[in-house]
Symmetry: C2
Subunit: 308 residues, 2 copies
């Protein structure tokens, strides 16, 4: 296996693979990161002497497409995947420029940390977590099989999705939550005395992800800007109604409409979390579903019609 | 001690006091709650045979003022405190209607849970947490001393603050974060397939508090509506700028201004969390500070000038 990019995710993938006895070749344009990952036991800093089975591109979303094309041109691997939080734009870039589009399947593990860099890497980061794979119309059987093998090595469970749907869903479940955490935390800038002692577990939990690296996250927000803007626009309507209601209540008016507006938002918040388990996904069920979908795809891609 | 209201906080206070050997009299207009709390070992369901040292009013913010006045009229206790998340409005109600305003000090422990009711109560809920006390200009020495004693029993550390400042700060550190969690979670209402498997730890943490009871929380938002609306209005400006920037980026324009807007928000989010520790407050330091402030207040209130 080759791991291109030895940040938190790349290093964690490499550590998991090493634990299963896989030979891992590491590279990172930040040599210090690569050396740290290697020192942590994540693999060797070297070009693979011959094409490896799978190259995992673990770079920020905006670089995934170009790095994929470049690595395929170099002949680094038989198949390729990536781990970026945004899937559609990198896929489109690759499909437009790749020599062999069938050798790639996009990927995104549902695991991370507000910490970054190789030192935050952990072999068990993905254990029991969902990991989205986004086979395109051009993805071949081999690429998908290699992708599933990677997930097995990492102890994760597959969710097969279209790249565009993935991005829409992730706007809801990850990118907008990050924006909201940043908006909340930003209110404390310049706020003086006593705030640090007045924060409880609730505040810490709602804002923890806002500590994440701003470079990576601005790249994510940019790469999925349309989906995120669509969700935030709806959210702005809710927020405007709430602020209006609070202003009525602040004026001392016992307005039933204003109270209902406040209660309605709180209740929709509770309703939105219905069915969302705190304990993580049913990984066995995810494997069953994904393997069935793989069989269906195998049928479809047995005679791939690659158009560029 | 008397505990009026045996929800999560009231029951936890009572359990902590029982653990220190304090006799606790429980009451709740919801008899089922009181019986549950008593069954959990939180105390006796009875009117105190004679005035107790301290009555802890653990009811929703909008009821604190009236319940305080009523309990003082009944002669339940020598001194009174409460535990509501909003302090200024209850204090004003009490000061306007109380026979002996010097016998009350407002309180608010920085601890809670998205769970509610007596079964969620825990004797150690407040251990190592900050607990705000809001002595008014009329609060007497005895009330403050009883309040501090309560915190000691609960293992919490005092922060002395003006009630209005408390409410402004809590808008930032608790009430707005709750609104943000609800707004985020509300986006998932009616969202179909695959969302539950796509949520990671980040989503769960940012939205956990939104699972909290909508009745209590609409009461809190109403009681602190002005401070919350002020913070949210600022936040709306940030959000509007961000959405505009995302729309520019979504249109494929490589706008430097739009990128800077996105990065600026993320960086201000990180900056807002500077100095906010994940490990909770330095409780020893809080006690030192509070005892010094108590000594200063003792000086001031040695000859209370009560005006009604």
């Amino acid at each position: 296996m080759a791991v291109i990019g030895t940040g938190l995710i790349g290093t964690s993938v490499a550590l998991a693979a090493r634990q299963e006895g896989v030979t891992v070749y590491l590279s990172d344009r930040n040599e210090h990161h690569a050396r740290t990952a290697a020192a942590l036991g994540a693999g060797l800093i070297a070009r693979p002497p011959e094409p490896v089975d799978l190259a995992v591109i673990a770079v920020p979303p905006s670089e995934v497409g170009p790095v994929l094309v470049q690595q395929q041109a170099l002949g680094t691997a038989d198949c390729y995947t990536d781990v970026a939080a945004v899937k559609h734009a990198p896929e489109q870039h690759f499909l437009q420029h790749a020599s062999e589009p069938s050798r790639y399947v996009g990927g995104h593990p549902m695991a991370g940390s507000e910490r970054s860099g190789p030192r935050a890497g952990r072999a068990d980061l993905f254990r029991g977590r969902a990991w989205v794979l986004t086979p395109s119309a051009y993805s071949g059987e081999a690429a998908l099989a290699r992708g599933l093998e990677l997930l097995e090595i990492c102890g994760a469970a597959p969710v097969l999705m279209d790249s565009r749907l993935h991005d829409e869903r992730m706007a809801l479940t990850s990118h907008v939550p990050h924006v909201m955490a940043s908006l909340t935390a930003a209110r404390l800038v310049g706020t003086p005395d006593q705030v640090p002692v007045l924060v409880g577990r609730g505040f810490l939990d709602t804002t923890r992800i806002a500590r994440g690296g701003s470079t990576l996250w601005s790249d994510i927000l940019k790469a999925n800007a349309a989906s995120i803007a669509a969700v935030l626009t709806e959210l702005q309507d809710d927020l405007a109604r709430l602020v209006e209601a609070l202003m009525v209540l602040a004026a001392g008016d016992e307005s039933e409409t204003a109270l209902v507006t406040v209660e309605d938002l709180l209740e929709r918040g509770i309703a939105g979390l219905t069915g969302i388990s705190e304990t993580g996904p049913d990984t066995e069920m995810l494997w069953v579903t994904a393997l069935a979908e793989q069989a269906a795809l195998r049928q479809r891609v047995s005679e791939p019609t690659v158009q560029q």
